[in-house]
C-alpha cells in the first residue's frame, strides 16, 4: 500500500492553513464590503445636464453607486481564473503520474471555479444593466468569459458522460488543459482589443486612490483565501469519503 502515501492527507498542515485562510478571507471580504460603502469614494459618472439638485445637494455629475459592484466583480473573476489554473495544473500532474488524486483535485478546482464564475456572471450582469444600460453585449471580454463558463459546464458534462474512472480522468484532464487556454485570452483581451468597452483594471496608471485600492485589495486577497479554503475543505471531504469506502471494502472482506 505505498500508494497511500500519495492519497490526500486529512488534518495536515494544508487543512489547518485552510481553516485559518477561510476565516481570514471571511474577515477580509467583510471588511472590504464595509469599506466599499463607507470609505471608498464614489466614482463620477456621466454628466448631469447642468447643475441639478439631487438629494439636497447641488451636483454637476451623477455619482455612481453601481460602481461598488466592481469591488466584488473583479476579485471573484480573478479567483475563478486562478482556480481554473489549478484545474490545468492538476490535469498536467494527472497525465504525468496517472494518480487519481490529481484528477480529484482538478475536479474540485473546477467546482470552486464554477462557483466564482457564477458570482462573476451575476455581478457582471448587474454591472452591464446599471452601468451600460444593457442586459448583455457581445463585448470581447464578456464573450471570452462567457465561453469560459460554457467550457466549465462542458467539463462537467464530459465527466458525467464517461463511465470508466481512468478514462474519465484522462479526458477531463485533457479538456481542462485545453480550456485553460481561454483564461489568458479572456484576461488579455481588453488590452489586445482597445475598442472593448470593458475597463482595463490591472495597470500602473489605473487612477485608483488609496481609499479605493484598500477595499479592492482586501476583497481580492479575501476571495482568493476563501477559494483556497473551499477547495481544501472539498479535498478533505473527498479524502474522508474515499477512506470510508476503503474501510467498507475491508469490512466486506
Amino acid at each position: 500500500m505505498d500508494r497511500s502515501a500519495t492519497k490526500p492527507a486529512v488534518g495536515g498542515l494544508a487543512d489547518k492553513l485552510a481553516l485559518v485562510l477561510l476565516a481570514t478571507g471571511t474577515v477580509l471580504t467583510t471588511v472590504a464590503f464595509i469599506l466599499t460603502f463607507t470609505v471608498a469614494s464614489p466614482v463620477i459618472g456621466a454628466k448631469v445636464s447642468g447643475v441639478e439638485l439631487i438629494g439636497d445637494q447641488m451636483i454637476g455629475n451623477q455619482l455612481l453607486l453601481s460602481q461598488k459592484i466592481f469591488y466584488f466583480h473583479m476579485p471573484v473573476a480573478i479567483a475563478s481564473m486562478v482556480a481554473l489554473g489549478g484545474t490545468a495544473f492538476f490535469g498536467i500532474r494527472f497525465l504525468m503520474t496517472r494518480d487519481a488524486v490529481y484528477d480529484m483535485k482538478a475536479k474540485l478546482c473546477t467546482e470552486v471555479s464554477l462557483v466564482f464564475i457564477l458570482a462573476t456572471m451575476a455581478t457582471g450582469e448587474m454591472w452591464t444593466r446599471f452601468e451600460w444600460g444593457v442586459w448583455w453585449t457581445w463585448d470581447p471580454r464578456l464573450t471570452t468569459y462567457f465561453i469560459l463558463m460554457l467550457m466549465v459546464f462542458g467539463y462537467f458534462v464530459l465527466r458525467a458522460a464517461v463511465e470508466e474512472p481512468e478514462r474519465r480522468a484522462t479526458y477531463a484532464s485533457i479538456f481542462g488543459i485545453i480550456a485553460f487556454v481561454d483564461v489568458p485570452i479572456s484576461f488579455m483581451i481588453t488590452r489586445l482589443i482597445p475598442s472593448s468597452i470593458h475597463p482595463v483594471v490591472f495597470r500602473t496608471d489605473s487612477g485608483m486612490s488609496p481609499d479605493m485600492l484598500v477595499p479592492l485589495m482586501c476583497s481580492l486577497f479575501g476571495f482568493l483565501m476563501i477559494a483556497f479554503g473551499l477547495y481544501r475543505f472539498r479535498v478533505r471531504t473527498e479524502a474522508l469519503a474515499l477512506r470510508v469506502e476503503a474501510v467498507k471494502d475491508q469490512i466486506d472482506e
Binding site: L95, T143, T144, I147, L148, L150, M151, F153, G154, V157, L158, A161, V162, E163, E166, R167, T170, Y171, S173, I174, F175, I177, I178, A179, V181, D182, I185
Partner: protein
C-alpha cells in the same frame, strides 16, 4: 537466410494512414455526401430564416457569419462520423498495435478531416453564392476570403480531431462533441467571421483583415500544438 526489416519512415506511416482514410471515404463517399446534403439543408433553412427580411436588407454584412455558421455545423457532423468509423471492426485497436508515434495518428486524422472539410467547402461556397449573393455585388476583394477559410478550417480540423477522439468513447457523443467543440472554436470563429465579412462587404483590409487572420492563425497554432501533444493520452485512454 537473414530476414531484413527496416522501420518505415514517419512520413511513410503518415502517408499510409492518410491514404487509408481517403480510400475508405472515396470508396463509399458516406461522410462527404451526408455533409454536403446537410450543408444544402442548412442553406434551405437560411432561405426560410431570411425570407421575411426586407428588400434593402444588407446580406453582404451577414454573409460571413452565415457562411461560418454553416461550416461549423457541417464540420460537427463530419467530425462526429470521422472517428466512428475507426471504432467499427476494431480499426483503432489495429492502428494502436502498430509501433508508431501516436502524433502521426493525430496528424493523419487531422489532415483527412481537413481534406474532407475543404472538399465540402468547395461545394458549399458556390451554392451559398448562388442562393444568397447573386443579387448583390461582393467587394472586389472577395477572393481573399479563401485565406481565413483555410486558416479557420485548419483549426476546426485540429481541435475537432482531438475532441472527436475523446467523445467517441462517451455517452451521448453527438451532443457532447458540440458542447465541447463550439466554445473551444469560438475565438477562431469570431476572428474568421470578421476577416471574411471585411473582404466580402468591403472595409479596412489592412487593419481588420490582417489582424483577424493573424489572430486566427495564432489560435490555430496554440490549439493544434496542444491537441498534438495531448493526443497520445486521448487515443490510448
Amino acid at each position: 537466410m537473414a530476414v531484413t526489416s527496416h522501420k518505415p519512415s514517419t512520413f511513410a506511416q503518415y502517408k499510409t494512414l492518410l491514404l487509408k482514410d481517403l480510400q475508405r471515404e472515396f470508396r463509399t463517399r458516406d461522410m462527404l455526401s451526408s455533409m454536403a446534403i446537410y450543408a444544402l439543408l442548412v442553406l434551405v433553412v437560411y432561405g426560410a430564416a431570411l425570407s421575411q427580411t426586407g428588400r434593402q436588407f444588407d446580406i453582404l454584412q451577414m454573409s460571413g457569419g452565415l457562411l461560418w455558421a454553416l461550416i461549423v455545423f457541417t464540420s460537427l457532423l463530419g467530425l462526429n462520423r470521422s472517428f466512428g468509423y475507426e471504432k467499427e471492426d476494431g480499426c483503432l485497436e489495429g492502428i494502436l498495435l502498430v509501433p508508431l508515434d501516436r502524433s502521426v495518428v493525430f496528424l493523419a486524422k487531422a489532415t483527412s478531416n481537413l481534406v474532407f472539410l475543404l472538399l465540402v467547402e468547395i461545394v458549399v461556397l458556390p451554392l451559398f453564392y448562388f442562393f444568397f449573393l447573386t443579387t448583390t455585388a461582393p467587394a472586389p476583394t472577395w477572393p481573399m476570403m479563401l485565406l481565413p477559410l483555410f486558416v479557420g478550417t485548419v483549426g476546426i480540423a485540429g481541435i475537432g480531431t482531438l475532441l472527436s477522439t475523446i467523445t467517441v468513447n462517451t455517452r451521448g457523443k453527438d451532443v457532447l462533441l458540440a458542447v465541447l467543440f463550439i466554445p473551444l472554436v469560438f475565438p477562431l470563429l469570431y476572428a474568421c467571421v470578421s476577416a471574411t465579412t471585411v473582404v466580402v462587404a468591403g472595409g479596412d483590409i489592412e487593419g481588420i483583415f490582417m489582424n483577424s487572420v493573424l489572430l486566427a492563425a495564432a489560435y490555430d497554432l496554440i490549439m493544434v500544438l496542444l491537441s498534438w501533444v495531448l493526443y497520445d493520452f486521448a487515443v490510448s485512454a
